[in-house]
């Protein structure tokens, strides 16, 4: 079994209300464990608590109940100091939805350097890491550009470079492709996949795109602050009813295969690659109903 790097144990969280609003319970009793180098997708409709979960895992919020274990260490225990949390943030980081609101500097490479500068890393080492990170996300030639003149996908890759320059082991992407056009989305997804496959970075993506979720090793579906289902994309999507019930989609491929199966064709449900899916459908139609 692989190393567990991040674990949530019975996490609950409530947004405190003020005078005229009641406290909002955003997460209830959420538990899961993330393996080193894995790729997990978190799904759920709006308001199901995905962002809240991400912020808890990055220790931006303190859970109202439950524990977060990073590399086996309980980050919610008594006696955890600001400094421990800072140290933890060297390991785990987050890329947000809106690229504009996470870029701090007026020059691309200065922004990528921002996190490393905060860690107090020597200048020469920062320089090296920044160049490397920009290379990985394919933005080396934009190093001296002004961020506001880049496309959305490019800005998002700059933000990703900023977190890989910090040499983080776990990165959470909170709808980081949501504001991008299809091309920008592909750029960013390719970058994320490469980070996971080639550099062994543990990735969690929060997304509304089912085809992105289908690329993951594991899918966690959230509903009203709880985990609805948790498993491989094959396991989760081959039972679409519970997902449909809470208003979620499944990948288009699954939807077609599922309908064929219901009509009596013998097809598998866990094929997400469109070409392959088309071949399977063609074969099944040739064979006819069983």
């Amino acid at each position: 079994m692989k190393n567990i790097v991040l674990e949530a144990k019975n996490l609950s969280f409530e947004y405190p209300g003020d005078e005229d609003t009641k406290p909002v319970s955003a997460l209830r009793d959420v538990s899961f464990a993330i393996e080193e180098g894995s790729f997990t997708a978190i799904l759920g409709h709006n308001g199901s608590g995905k962002s809240t979960l991400a912020k808890l895992l990055c220790m931006i919020y303190q859970p109202t109940a439950g524990q977060i274990l990073l590399n086996g260490r309980d980050m919610t225990a008594e006696g955890i100091t600001e400094k421990d949390i800072m140290d933890a943030r060297r390991e785990i980081g987050m890329v947000f939805q809106n690229p504009d609101n996470q870029i701090v500097a007026t020059v691309v490479e200065e922004d990528v350097a921002f996190g490393c500068e905060n860690l107090g890393i020597p200048s020469a080492e920062i320089r090296r890491r920044v160049d490397e990170a920009l290379e990985i996300v394919g933005m080396r030639k934009y190093a001296r550009h002004a961020p506001h003149k880049l496309s959305g996908g490019q800005k998002q890759r700059v933000a990703i470079a900023g977190t890989i320059a910090m040499k983080r082991k776990i990165i959470i992407f909170d709808e980081s492709t949501a504001m991008l056009d299809p091309l920008g989305r592909k750029e960013v997804m390719d970058t994320i996949l490469r980070l996971n496959k080639e550099d062994g970075i543990t990735v969690l993506i929060i997304t509304h795109y089912m085809n992105e979720a289908a690329m993951a090793d594991r899918v966690i579906v959230m509903n009203e602050g709880k985990i609805l289902t948790d498993g491989t994309p094959g396991e989760v999507f081959s039972q679409p009813e519970p997902l449909w019930e809470v208003g979620l989609d499944v990948p288009q491929t699954t939807e077609i295969l599922y309908k064929l199966k219901k009509d009596g064709y013998d097809v598998p449900l866990d094929v997400f690659e469109p070409e392959q899916c088309a071949r399977i459908i063609a074969q099944a139609l040739e064979r006819g109903r069983s």
């Binding site: 912020k55 990055c58 931006i60 600001e82 800072m86 943030r89 060297r90 980081g93 987050m94 947000f96 809106n98 504009d100 609101n101 996470q102 870029i103 701090v104 500097a105 007026t106 020059v107 490479e109 200065e110 350097a113 921002f114 996190g115 490393c116 500068e117 905060n118 860690l119 107090g120 890393i121 020597p122 200048s123 920062i126 320089r127 920044v130 002004a146 961020p147 506001h148 003149k149 900023g162 977190t163 910090m166």
Partner: protein, 275 residues
């Protein structure tokens, strides 16, 4: 692109002035201001005028741009000139209009003071705004003032505020345009009506703009926290500013210029500045 306007008056270039260290340029600007105030005689003003012309030439920036920037000062220039010409007493009476007497000293004084104002503007713009990007300037100020940290002046925080403001100006301009277009599409009119009506038409722009700016600020704060930002303490920088011989040479030149001005004041006094 419209949003470029926001990046101050910086003129792209690669001249000697552009390449000086921003800290050196701030020091140079301050020194040069002192030198300008040292000048008293016509001769020393002549020297400074020559030197400033030299600065403009070295920077490679079109003199027309520099002179154009004087327009903003027209009112101040006329005002000081008039005050000096009509109110200053002297020895050489040129003419009198009823109770108002105009002296030669008054006119010389007016000219020199106007020159002084112009020199001040040229010097700060040549050293600072035209040849230094706002962000380099911010870095320079932060590092020059760093010793003040010890007496608990939040130098780093101010510099950070400055650079974030600079970062977000284009974003907010873009957003303003978007909101204006959205309101125009709903039939809003920002060009007609009297001042009050036009000011009222701006409210539907300002309100969403502020709401969005606060939301951005909130998200940015979270993102910065996530990237381990905890203020200036323990922070390093990727690009470290370094002085080299150019910076020392430039500062040396301005110090020499100051000495020359003092000497000229004494050797060639002539009619000088009286205040």
């Amino acid at each position: 692109m419209k949003s470029d306007i926001a990046f101050g008056q910086y003129c792209e270039g690669d001249s000697l002035l552009h390449r000086l260290d921003p800290r050196a340029k701030i020091v140079l600007a301050v020194l040069y201001i002192v030198v300008i105030f040292l000048a008293e005689s016509v001769a020393s003003f002549g020297l400074l005028l020559l030197f400033s012309a030299g600065l403009v030439a070295v920077s490679g920036i079109s003199p027309r741009i520099v002179l154009g920037s004087m327009k903003a000062l027209t009112f101040i220039i006329i005002f000081t000139a008039v005050i000096n010409i009509f109110w200053m007493q002297g020895e050489t009476l040129l003419f009198a209009l009823g109770p108002v007497e105009v002296y030669l000293e008054g006119i010389v004084n007016a000219v020199l003071i106007v020159l002084r104002i112009m020199l001040l503007l040229i010097c700060t713009s040549m050293f600072l705004t035209y040849t230094t990007t706002p962000i380099a300037l911010t870095d320079g100020i932060e590092q020059l003032l760093a010793p003040l940290n010890r007496i608990h002046v939040p130098v780093h925080e101010f510099a950070m505020m400055m650079s974030i403001a600079l970062r977000f100006i284009p974003t907010l301009i873009e957003e303003t345009e978007k909101i204006m277009n959205a309101q125009k599409a709903r039939g809003a009119d920002f060009t007609e009506g009297n001042l009050l009506q036009r000011a009222k038409a701006l409210i539907p722009i300002l309100v969403p703009l502020f709401v969005s700016a606060f939301r951005r600020a909130d998200e940015l704060a979270t993102a910065m926290e996530c990237r381990c930002y905890t203020g200036g303490a323990g922070r390093t920088r990727m690009s470290v500013l370094r002085y080299d011989w150019k910076d020392f040479a430039a500062i040396g030149t301005v110090v020499l210029l100051g000495a020359a001005v003092v000497v000229l004041n004494i050797l060639v006094p002539g009619i000088g500045l009286a205040m």
